[in-house]
């Protein structure tokens, strides 16, 4: 077995160091000094190593001057013990309070739902279980510019949304053709409907075209991976289904209004078939039910008949039978839901 040079070196160093030892004189002096401080040990002050002695504390005698010695050493020791113990208890109590406080804070801050708002600026509000906005994030630069001018966190969701839509920062984007897309991603159905009704109320009061719908987590992640807001991403997916020549990048530069207009035009069906990331309701749906439970009630202020978009669906005939002028090859293949009024759910389901 050949030892490496470095192992040898290490051995040498170790051996050399181990050769350094404490001088005997120092050892003795230390032992003596310690004994000199032992309570009640005046008579033993000069002794060095002893036979075992009892530690039973004797009546304290005036001992050698030492800062470490206390009259009534036993008492001092006991008190010290008690003091330490109490101190530890107090510290533990403080720690508990701190931990609980922190935990509640964490719980409070925990987002229960993500609400994406796309017009042209794309932002996302994280809402906690108590309907408060706990954080606001911008998905694109326009969104960042808007957020820089507003403070939305800590507010109840409805108020925050209201402030946002009504703000001067957003005013520039909210012209007549503007479309506000609100996408709610959450597992909590109750919270979702609450947020939806709040969103609808706000949109209605501001008389903008808009729509509020639910999205699923997978879509949201895909959207972020693409650097887009959820609503925009969903609409983009749909538009790209309808028109293969459109790229995701192009969609990124369109406003929601433009996207919806484009989709509407390309839509052959009776209704405007937006797909909003809902798992069910694929083309197999034939009942023509217009909404799922989680779609918002009709936005009467915007689209006349469509729940889901502000685009006039009327231009389309009610069945698939008529080939449409601007026919997209996709359509026939994809659309299989037939009946009457809009279905509300899109032909193809993308990232589910």
């Amino acid at each position: 077995m050949i030892r490496s040079d470095s192992a040898d070196f290490d051995q040498r160093v170790g051996d050399a160091l181990r050769g350094v030892s404490a001088p005997e004189a120092v050892v003795q002096q230390t032992l003596a000094a310690i004994e000199a401080m032992r309570p009640g040990s005046e008579e033993r002050a000069l002794a060095t190593v002893h036979s075992p002695t009892t530690t039973a504390l004797q009546v304290p005698e005036p001992a050698a001057a030492s800062a470490l010695q206390k009259p009534g050493a036993p008492l001092a020791t006991r008190t010290l013990r008690r003091r330490r113990w109490r101190g530890a208890l107090a510290a533990a109590a403080c720690l508990l309070v701190a931990v609980l406080g922190f935990a509640s804070y964490q719980l409070y801050q925990q987002p229960a739902a993500y609400v994406g708002i796309d017009v042209n600026p794309s932002i996302e509000l994280a809402v906690n279980g108590f309907d408060r906005v706990v954080s606001a994030a911008a998905v694109n630069e326009d969104g960042q510019a808007v957020l820089d001018q507003l403070s939305l966190t800590g507010k109840p969701f409805e108020q925050a949304l209201n402030d946002l839509i009504g703000s001067t920062a957003m005013a520039a984007y909210l012209d007549e053709d503007a479309f506000v897309d609100v996408s709610i991603t959450t597992d909590d159905d109750a919270l979702a409907s609450q947020l939806q009704s709040q969103s609808d109320a706000v949109l209605q009061s501001h008389a903008h075209q808009g729509e509020c719908h639910r999205a699923d987590a997978a879509t949201r992640e895909a959207a972020f991976a693409a650097g887009m807001g959820v609503g925009r991403y969903s609409a983009a997916q749909e538009l790209m289904d309808l028109d293969e020549s459109v790229t995701l990048d192009e969609c990124d530069h369109m406003t929601m209004g433009e996207l919806h207009a484009a989709i509407g035009e390309l839509c052959s069906e009776e209704g405007h078939h937006h797909r909003y990331g809902q798992s069910s309701n694929t083309r197999s749906e034939t009942a023509g039910e217009s909404t799922e439970s989680d779609l918002p009630p009709a936005d009467t202020s915007h689209a006349p008949e469509e729940n889901e978009s502000g685009i006039q669906p009327d231009s389309q005939p009610s069945t698939e039978d008529e080939p449409r002028p601007q026919d997209r090859p996709n359509n026939g293949a994809q659309r299989s839901h037939g009946s009457g009024s809009h279905n509300g759910h899109g032909n193809q389901h993308h990232p589910e």
Binding site: F9, V20, S21, A25, V26, L31, T53, T55, T77
Partner: protein
């Protein structure tokens, strides 16, 4: 206060280690002795502490010695300005006079260690001289194990460069 026998026993087993740890910080005899004495005094006064085994006791002593040395150094730094001359005169010459069986290579090694920053000074010492494992050192110094490994590696390399 711990019983005299206990203290004596601890001294027999670990005086050299404690002495060496103090030597890592103080080339000067007086300071070293101060730190050494303080360390065992603290041991003597640690009535409440129960040691699981001798390794535990040794680790405790090493920690206390080190902390005592660092405190002394901090205090010196704070009070030096006027005392510069006196201290400098006392300090720089590593006094090997009292070390039993001075070995010049050992002196070199100690000098080299003292010249290192700490860490990796202490981890390297503990690894090479006390032959503690990295996990043991990590526990003693309250540092992550991986960090300890890298300290040891760096320290050993430095020593090799300086001493060969």
């Amino acid at each position: 206060m711990r019983p005299a026998a206990d203290i004596a026993q601890a001294m027999t087993a670990h005086a050299d280690t404690v002495w060496r740890v103090c030597a890592l910080y103080f080339p000067g005899e007086a300071d070293r002795q101060d730190a050494f004495q303080e360390t065992f005094l603290r041991y003597a006064l640690a009535d409440e502490t129960e040691f699981a085994d001798d390794e535990h006791r040794k680790a405790w002593l090493i920690r206390v010695a080190r902390s005592r040395c660092l405190d002394m150094i901090k205090k010196e730094k704070r009070t030096t300005p006027l005392d510069d001359e006196g201290l400098e005169a006392a300090a720089p010459e590593p006094s090997h006079a009292n070390d039993d069986q001075p070995d010049s290579f050992a002196h070199e090694v100690m000098d080299a260690l003292r010249a290192m920053t700490d860490p990796p000074r202490t981890p390297v010492y503990l690894a090479l001289c006390e032959e503690l494992t990295a996990p043991e050192i990590a526990r003693l110094l309250d540092a992550p194990v991986n960090t300890v490994y890298s300290w040891i590696r760096r320290g050993k390399q430095h020593l090799r460069e300086v001493l060969s």
